[in-house]
Amino acid sequence: MTRSTPRQMAEKKLITEDEFKKIELITSGKIVSVFYELRILLYMGVMLFASGAGILIYQNIGELGHLASILLLAVIMLGCFGYAIKHGHDYKNDQVESPNAYFDYVLLLGCLLFVSIQGYMQVQYDAFTQSMLWNTLITAIFYFYIAYRYDHIGVLSLAITALATFWGLKISSKKWYNGDFFDQADLHITAMVFATLLAGIVFSLDKKSIKKHFTFTYKNFCFLLFFIGALTGIFIDSIYDLLFVSLIYVGCIFAWQQAQQKKSFLFLVYAFTAAYIATTYLLGKYLFNSEPVLWYYYFLISCGGIIYGIIQYKRLFKR
């Protein structure tokens, strides 16, 4: 690509003179877009403000000025949501463009302040474990509502994280009462069950064409949680390692399907990594124990084979 390429294209009638004028403005640098720079600055501002507010809330709890500052933050939060209600477009199942450049960031700030203030209330007014559990659920539901209502993928990720936290807490809360909170031996199973259930729900939502552009974010979470959970399982519950390995292979089939249908190959990278670790583990445990030299040959041949396969069948991996 050189500076004269657009002109050559225009001369070859590949693009019209009008199109050339538009493209030329951009490629020659006569107009420079600082769209992303300003977005990043805005995002950083929101993050800095919210984390500052978060620290402020946890410091000097109980002082008078402190209460005033929390009230101020609450007012800002309500202002953010008020702005969203006032300016937000109506709900649609399809993707909805944000009404203006600031809308997404205002909403994000509101959501971040919401969780800070909610955390403060909990620390200040009741420190019971059970309420923490339900608070997380409330946060998750609220975030999901916001994400769907105003079409915000950032808040959606927050919502999924909150929901996953709720699940993790719920399963391990029994142990929490007994005092061994850190013994979360079955957390990886929770992660896998959660990932599978969530993937099922998302699959049906996608079928019904409800916010189809959210599907990728969900699937990314699901695949990561599932593979990490299963890999952890192989090493923690090594009695059932065959089960976990076969679950990883099932996950790989899904990832392959996704790659072929949606042309999103990111999941294939996850699947490959997980399956390779799992297979290597199995081989190491049951086959290569006696002969360490075999490892070198194994690495060379297996990965060489993968490279060869991808190059041979490259049309399968094309967008």
């Binding site: 690509m1 050189t2 500076r3 004269s4 390429t5 002109r7 294209m9 070859k12 590949l14 199109e19 538009k22 493209i23 030329e24 951009i26 490629t27 020659s28 640098g29 006569k30 107009i31 420079v32 877009s33 600082v34 769209f35 720079e37 300003l38 600055l41 805005l42 950083m44 501002g45 929101v46 993050m47 800095l48 403000f49 919210a50 984390s51 500052g52 507010a53 620290i55 410091q59 450049a101 190959f265 990111l266 294939l268 990278v269 490959f272 030299v293 490892w295 070198y296 040959y297 690495f299 060379l300 041949i301 990965c303 060489g304 993968i306 490279i307 991808i310 190059i311 991996f317 094309k318």
Partner: protein, 390 residues
């Protein structure tokens, strides 16, 4: 001039297709036009999408590690000197295999090529280092510099370009440091001088149209130069390095030598970057300017903190938000060639493009200037892109 291993025309075509795809996505051209462009600018290069590249890269690293393991097992127990030579030879062999088995089969940054190239560089460097028992620093440095620069030149790789810059600055630092005495205290100035000179040299090279093949590498070099100039003048970097490497003791109430100068640099360099970036519409300068400005703020907060990090966070958050919002408003209709609109995403779809172009070229800000540039655009074809000088 083409001393890279690649066919220049194919790479050029690949970039044209990539650009045209972007234009299509953003509604600048129609899909059938894109197909026509794709058919005209043909390229046989194998350049898969990012996920597949990562996959191939990981697989290549594992496979080559296996290969190295096998080779090393074959020659285990032959003595250190022989191992060193084997390392260098297998490095050379790896380069040869990459060029003949992959690049000649039209691989272009396919993940495999990067994987083998990094391994090969590592093998050659480790081999040479082993010859000198890892003690002869200058030998390692020169080898790194040679290997990285030749590999960058031939394979156009960006990570190797970065490695080259890191080696270069390590070398400069090491040798001025080892020279001792007065040289130690002028290290920052040496850095600023060398990399400023490099930056202006790069600007000149950038105008040379033949180097288009390496334009991304030049961009990396440019960013590295700017960052290194800033780092050498930054008060925090200079102070902490002086304390940890040169055993400088700073009593309370004292300061490092030339402290005022470094305070000045810490503020002036980012501001100069931003100013030059705005003047010359140079996004590289703008971005580096913004990042370094943030680091300058951090530098001052680090030494002059009033003990309330949360207030600092909130204040800097408010300032960032305000600046961003004000600039977004100010640049809503483009001014002085800047716009807050996303020129290459869906924003074009809802935007009245015609009106935008018209406001730019006709009723807009600097009609005469734009006209002059438009004419220069025609002359540029033969002139090889001497753009900003108009």
């Amino acid at each position: 001039m083409n001393k890279s291993v690649y066919n220049q025309e194919w790479i050029y075509n690949l970039h044209v297709i990539k650009q045209a795809k972007l234009w299509m996505k953003h509604g600048l051209i129609q899909p059938d036009q894109f197909t026509a462009i794709k058919n005209l600018y043909k390229t046989p290069l194998f350049h898969p999408n990012r996920a597949i590249r990562i996959l191939l890269f990981i697989a290549t690293l594992i496979a080559t590690s296996g290969m190295i393991g096998i080779v090393m097992l074959m020659f285990s127990g032959v003595g250190e000197m022989a191992i060193a030579i084997i390392c260098m030879l297998s490095g050379a062999a790896a380069f040869w295999i990459m060029e003949h088995a992959f690049i000649n089969k039209n691989h272009y940054k396919s993940g495999v090529t990067e994987g083998i190239a990094y391994m090969a560089c590592g093998l050659v460097i480790v081999g040479v280092a082993m010859l000198g028992d890892f003690d002869v620093i200058i030998m390692i440095q020169v080898t790194c510099l040679l290997v990285f620069s030749i590999a960058t030149f031939r394979y156009l790789d960006l990570m190797l370009t970065l490695a080259f810059m890191v080696t270069l600055s390590w070398m400069i630092f090491y040798h001025t440091y080892e020279a001792g005495g007065i040289f130690r205290s002028i290290i920052p100035f040496v850095f600023i001088l060398i990399f400023s000179a490099s930056y202006f040299l790069l600007q000149q090279i950038n105008k040379h149209a033949d180097l288009n093949l390496w334009s991304d590498n030049l961009l990396i070099l440019e960013v590295c130069c700017l960052v290194l100039i800033y780092a050498a003048g930054n008060y925090l970097v200079v102070r902490e390095l002086s304390v940890s490497m040169m055993d400088l003791l700073i009593e309370p109430g004292e300061d490092i030598p030339f402290a005022f100068l470094f305070y000045f640099f810490t503020i002036a360099i980012p501001v100069a970057y931003l100013w030059a970036g705005i003047q010359r519409k140079d996004t590289v300068l703008l971005r580096v300017g913004l990042v370094t400005l943030a680091f300058s703020v951090f530098t001052f907060k680090y030494y002059y903190s009033f003990g309330h990090p949360e207030i600092t966070l909130i204040l800097s958050g408010i300032i960032s938000i305000l600046v961003a919002v004000l600039l977004m408003r100010y640049l809503k209709d483009s001014r002085k060639g800047f716009t807050s609109k996303n020129l290459v995403t869906s924003a074009w779809a809802n935007l009245n493009v015609e009106a935008f172009i018209i406001s730019q070229t006709m009723g807009g800000n600097q009609p005469e200037k734009v006209e002059a540039k438009e004419m220069g655009g025609g002359g540029r074809m033969g002139g090889g892109g001497a753009s900003t000088s108009f």
